[in-house]
């Protein structure tokens, strides 16, 4: 059944819950029909004993992990994979560290490319946090670095960040 395919694929790649209206519009089905498919999907998933399920209500849906996973993992110690950050993520982190509090737009401007997914990555890893909103129309989110960032880099405070070359010392700077 094609609708089930499209719904599950969409939920897999979506970044956060998907509004039900998105599916009813896309697939041209009514809400009742959609909720039926959701239930279908959940019964499929529980039959095959997967570690995630479809959490939904009358407004939105998302694939989330089942809550008893931690219980399964209690007896084992998950090995940690040491992983460095990719260059896009590192660049983004550097800009946020130096320019904070800073908006996504400003980060993208400095890097020269749209940086939304890099910010998401850093946020999910706890290196970057939302630190407020800019007081302009649209209230864009301001980002800053977390304590985790200080802990990982070994800086005691943000004041310890090294000055960057002569580029910021020139008298006629500032945009």
């Amino acid at each position: 059944m094609k609708n089930k395919k499209i719904i599950t694929a969409t939920l897999l790649v979506s970044d956060g819950p998907v509004p039900n209206t998105y599916f009813t519009d896309l697939l041209e089905i009514d809400e009742k029909n959609l909720l039926n498919i959701f239930e279908d999907i959940n019964s499929d998933l529980s039959n095959i004993n997967f570690g995630f399920y479809l959490r939904f209500d009358s407004v939105k849906s998302d694939l989330v992990t089942v809550s008893d996973i931690p219980k399964y993992l209690d007896s084992v110690k998950p090995p940690s994979i040491l992983k460095g950050l990719s260059t896009p993520a590192l660049e983004t982190l550097a800009i946020i560290a130096y320019e904070q509090p800073v908006t996504k737009l400003k980060v993208s401007e400095i890097r020269g490319v749209e940086s939304e997914s890099s910010i998401k990555t850093l946020e999910s890893r706890g290196l970057v946090i939302k630190s407020g909103e800019l007081d302009v129309p649209g209230s864009p989110i301001l980002y800053g670095t977390s304590d985790e960032f200080l802990a990982k880099t070994g800086f005691e405070s943000l004041d310890e960040l090294p000055t960057i070359g002569e580029y910021f010392s020139s008298p006629n700077e500032e945009e």
């Binding site: 694929a9 897999l12 790649v13 979506s14 970044d15 956060g16 694939l63 989330v64 992990t65 996973i69 931690p70 993992l73 110690k77 998950p78 940690s80 994979i81 040491l82 992983k83 460095g84 950050l85 260059t87 896009p88 590192l90 660049e91 982190l93 550097a94 800009i95 560290a97 130096y98 737009l105 401007e109 400095i110 890097r111 020269g112 490319v113 749209e114 940086s115 997914s117 890099s118 998401k120 990555t121 946020e123 999910s124 890893r125 706890g126 290196l127 960032f149 990982k152 880099t153 070994g154 800086f155 960040l161 090294p162 960057i164 070359g165 580029y167 910021f168 945009e175």
Partner: protein, 236 residues
């Protein structure tokens, strides 16, 4: 003249180039181009790029040849010329191969991107006590990247190398990026219509070139009659 014919002529010219007759080469090149129906050439992009390469190699050799400009070319220079010619050929082959391999890799990536990976890792924050991935952050590398990314940014805004009293390209880049941001898609004509002096127009144009060169924006003109479309360049 047929394209294939032109290409083979250009190739033989390149081979014969160490022969001592610049004037002849000049005439030959001009004749060749005059005999060519450019409309047809443009239709065949593949051949067009080959021609550009061949001509570029020819002119490069020619420029080197013209440098001494004395009566006879010294035998060491002669050898250098032959080496240059071989190098030009080798480069031509290598270059063409890699540019096609690049496209092949891109089509592979495109195909792979038809399957999209799960994007739920923000959930790891709330998953189980120990997330599966421990992020390492190397202070030295962090500092390096920080320096690099800001230097890159600042060097776009710098233009120290231009000493003349030119319009402020700096400002023009900023305002260009802002207006592209606001409109997402715009045209060069649109941007240029807002300037008041010719200096500002020059600044906008330079800013646009720089912004394109650095990959901030893309500019495209489908054909001569269309406006030059400008849009922001997105990552990933």
């Amino acid at each position: 003249m047929e394209l294939i014919e032109l290409i083979s002529k250009l190739k033989s010219l390149l081979i014969d180039f160490s022969d001592n007759n610049n004037k002849n080469t000049n005439t030959n090149l001009i004749n060749l181009f005059n005999s060519l129906n450019l409309e047809n050439v443009r239709k065949d992009i593949e051949s067009f790029s080959e021609i550009v390469l061949l001509v570029a190699s020819l002119f490069e050799l020619k420029a080197k040849r013209l440098l001494p400009q004395n009566e006879d070319v010294d035998w060491i220079d002669e050898i250098q010329l032959i080496k240059d010619k071989d190098l030009a050929f080798a480069r031509l082959l290598q270059f063409k191969a890699f540019s096609e391999v690049g496209i092949a890799l891109a089509s592979r990536i495109r195909e792979n991107e038809m399957s999209i990976g799960a994007f739920k890792y923000y959930q790891t924050l709330n998953l189980y006590s120990k997330p599966d991935i421990e992020i390492t952050l190397d202070k030295i590398k962090f500092n390096e990247v920080a320096e690099e990314v800001f230097v890159r940014y600042k060097s776009i805004k710098g233009f120290d190398h231009i000493e003349y009293n030119l319009p402020d390209v700096d400002e023009a880049i900023n305002s260009l990026l802002t207006s592209i941001d606001e409109r997402l898609n715009t045209t060069f004509e649109d941007l240029a219509s807002e300037v008041e002096t010719s200096e500002q127009a020059v600044a906008i144009f330079l800013a646009l070139l720089e912004a394109i060169r650095w990959g901030f924006v893309k500019a495209e003109q489908v054909n001569n009659n269309e406006l030059i479309k400008i849009e922001k360049n997105y990552e990933e």
